[in-house]
């Protein structure tokens, strides 16, 4: 029984892996001050392309490379329209969300339901037998291991390395980064594309592993991208917290499944659709501290209570990179 739960949790870690790639990709992009709203479309398109490529070439690697390349290209479009042409990032991102989706369905149509290759699971001998840890982390497939590495690497890069600090600076205050020698817009191009590439890898992670195959409109990926975006905010632009968000989401989904029989009388939709409202609730918690009315009402409270609540809220609060979504021109 205990073992079953453990395996269940291991399953959650696997389910979250693609979302982690997408969220961390977006986190990196947004850290540079650019919003890539196109995730939902990008993931669908790259899932399709990755699948088709690896079916045609039957090389998994090429499939993933194709995904990454397309993800980066979509990001490039966003970078160009928003950074160079100064158009609204949200607008461009939203259009690409729909455009990529329809492209995926249109171009992918001939390849529906074809049998395709699939990433094998790859238990790590030695580690896999460690009690608990082994089952949880080391009986997964290569992509899951990569997701672990990605979390650590992204965190290390953003907060520990010199270029990472500059990345923060660029998103926080481009003008200041500029006088410190950063080529702000080039950096934004680069990071947007890196982030896009990571998002682009999430696609094949589904079509070549988590949800192997391409089934067009019924593939069951339409929506993942939005969830990943929400998790990015929940994660407060911090890879570790973002990963936590992804795991939390997968956990909620899993609970929805295991709890279903025990709730005969409440509509099954309640559990199935629960994760997103809960995600909103989470966003509420991390944002409500930034709202003006809270300040006002707090002011009404007795000092001690006021201080306490204020501290709690500040602990929960996440604030986006200051220049997020705004173009930069040096003077």
């Amino acid at each position: 029984m205990n073992e079953i739960i453990l395996i269940g949790l291991a399953g959650i870690i696997a389910v979250a892996a693609p979302i982690i790639f997408a969220t961390i990709g977006e986190t990196i992009t947004e850290r540079a001050g650019v919003i890539n709203l196109s995730l939902n479309g990008t993931i669908l398109l790259t899932a399709m392309a990755g699948f088709v490529v690896s079916v045609k070439t039957d090389s998994l690697l090429l499939g993933f490379l194709a995904g990454a390349a397309i993800g980066a290209f979509v990001a490039l479009i966003i970078a160009f329209t928003s950074i160079t042409l100064k158009q609204s990032q949200v607008a461009v991102g939203f259009v690409l969300t729909l455009l990529c989706r329809d492209l995926a369905y249109f171009l992918g149509n001939p390849f529906m339901g074809l049998p395709g290759p699939r990433i094998p699971s790859l238990p790590i001998s030695g580690l896999k037998d460690i009690p608990l840890i082994g089952t949880l982390f080391f009986k997964q497939d290569i992509l899951v291991y990569l997701s672990f590495i990605l979390i650590a690497a992204a965190y290390w890069w953003i907060f520990k390395t010199r270029p990472g600090l500059m990345l923060q600076g660029i998103g926080e205050r481009p003008a200041a980064a500029f006088v410190r020698g950063a080529n702000v817009n080039r950096m934004r191009y680069i990071y947007t594309m890196i982030g896009g590439a990571l998002v682009g890898i999430a696609g094949p992670m589904y079509s070549l592993s988590a949800k192997a195959g391409w089934k067009g409109t019924i593939t069951g990926l339409d929506g993942i991208g939005w969830i990943a975006l929400a998790i990015t905010i929940f994660g407060g632009w911090n890879p570790i917290r973002a990963a936590f968000g992804a795991y939390l989401f997968a956990l909620l989904q899993w609970l929805g499944i295991v709890l279903q029989p025990s709730f005969q009388n409440i509509p099954s939709q309640v559990l199935q659709v629960a994760p997103f409202p809960l995600m909103i609730l989470a966003l509420l918690l991390v944002n409500i501290g930034n709202t003006e009315w809270v300040d006002r009402t707090l002011a009404g409270l007795p000092e001690s209570a006021r201080r306490f609540i204020a501290q709690v809220l500040r602990a929960l609060r996440t604030t986006p990179p200051a220049s997020l979504g705004t173009p930069f021109e040096n003077e």
Partner: protein
């Protein structure tokens, strides 16, 4: 269930259907598919039936439109799309899904000269709860109950843990009766052939909430399948449009777990992962469609409600049997033997929907010795006693 002509169907002489006096030798029939024509599932089965008709009946031409649902074709109704097909010269229209029920009714009423075939509807069932008097419509449905029973049987004969999982779509009468059939098949084979007590068989259904996965709105079938396998349900029967069950089973298998799965709907479904596929209950609409189109061609089209079972002489005969069960490579020899025995028994008139039988909440469904009527089966109000899972949406 025998074909039951709708009582309103007047004698053929005044059958108000085809207007031209002598039957046309050329005929175009239009097919409206709810899903992609190549979905390796429900819709592809119908599409192939269309090809079958074209092949068997010279002078017929098929035109089709797939993804006929308001999500994929915003702002359209199947009736309107049927008009499009008529515009292209179709004089017979096939609606292939429950989704299109009302449109089919509306269209049939609006176009008395067009012969309408509606798969999985019950408008033409005089005894049914949703009867509409439509002289130019045929309702046809395969008795997949039998297919599911065979699936359940194969599962019961294979499971090592005595736990069978059923990956359910959304909850309604149809899906309930299919799950229950699988359960009955499983229980029968478990007790009769393996001689094990019924209580030792666990049969659990988990509903994802839709016919396929929509992140953020349904449960993820991949996760459901995994959860089954991980919690020692070593056989999963799929009731949804997509193939997560066998895909995940295959993955587990490769990871060294001993698991099996049974897909749904489409004859070729096992091909995706033969090693773990115990078999697939599938629809073979071809023969029935051939019949209706021929009738239309010869001006003998009659309104009808048909709930067609397998051709018991050979359930896998493409020219005669509506319901088939294609045994998979993963089905062991002795299990296979027993499944065949089970099929033979069904052919011999074995009726599993027979009393004493209770509904999930313990209320009596069938009294001792009572056999369920088609109505009782079609409109099954709950899961059956002994099954685990939600009965009501």
């Amino acid at each position: 269930a025998k074909p039951t002509a709708a009582p309103t169907a007047a004698p053929a002489t005044e059958a108000p259907v085809v207007v031209t006096t002598e039957a046309p030798k050329e005929i175009t029939f239009g097919l409206l598919l709810v899903g992609p024509y190549n979905d390796h599932g429900w819709s592809e089965a119908h599409f192939n039936a269309g090809l079958y008709v074209e092949e068997k009946l010279p002078g017929t031409k098929m035109i089709y439109l797939d993804k006929v649902n308001p999500a994929d074709r915003p702002g359209t109704t199947p009736a309107q799309l049927a008009d499009e097909l008529v515009g292209q010269g179709a004089t017979v229209i096939l609606f292939n899904s429950d989704d299109m029920k009302d449109s089919a009714t509306e269209f049939a009423a609006a176009n008395p000269t067009i012969n309408v075939i509606m798969a999985s509807g019950d408008q033409q069932w005089a005894e049914g709860k949703d009867f509409k008097n439509l002289p130019n419509m045929v309702n046809v449905m395969g008795e997949m109950e039998y297919g599911k029973m065979m699936a359940g049987c194969a599962a019961a004969l294979t499971t090592k843990t005595g736990q069978i999982g059923y990956l359910g779509p959304l909850i309604n009468d149809e899906t309930r009766r299919l799950v229950s059939s699988a359960y009955l098949g499983a229980k029968y084979c478990w007790t009769t052939y393996l001689g094990k007590p019924a209580e030792e068989l666990k049969f659990k259904v988990t509903w994802i909430g839709f016919w396929f996965n929509i992140p953020g709105f349904t449960s993820d079938p991949t996760q459901v399948a995994d959860d089954f396998f991980n919690s020692n349900y070593d056989v999963v029967i799929s009731g949804i449009d997509t193939t997560e069950a066998i895909v995940q089973a295959n993955k587990m298998k490769l990871a060294g777990k001993e698991v099996w799965a049974i897909p749904y709907d489409y004859e070729g479904a096992c091909d995706e992962a033969p090693d773990i596929c115990l078999g697939v209950p599938y629809f073979n609409w071809g023969p029935s469609y051939l019949g209706y189109v021929t009738a239309a061609m010869n001006g003998e089209y009659k309104p009808l409600f048909e709930w067609v079972g397998p051709d018991w002489t050979n359930i896998n005969n493409p020219d005669t049997s509506m319901i088939g069960f294609k045994e998979g490579d993963a089905l062991s020899a002795e299990a296979k033997a027993n499944v065949d025995k089970f099929i033979a028994e069904l052919a011999g008139g074995l009726q599993l929907f027979a009393g004493p039988m209770n509904l999930q909440d313990g209320t009596v469904y069938l009294k001792d010795g009572e056999k369920a009527t088609d109505l009782q089966i079609w409109y099954l109000p709950q899961l059956l006693e002994g099954m685990e899972g939600k009965s009501l949406p």
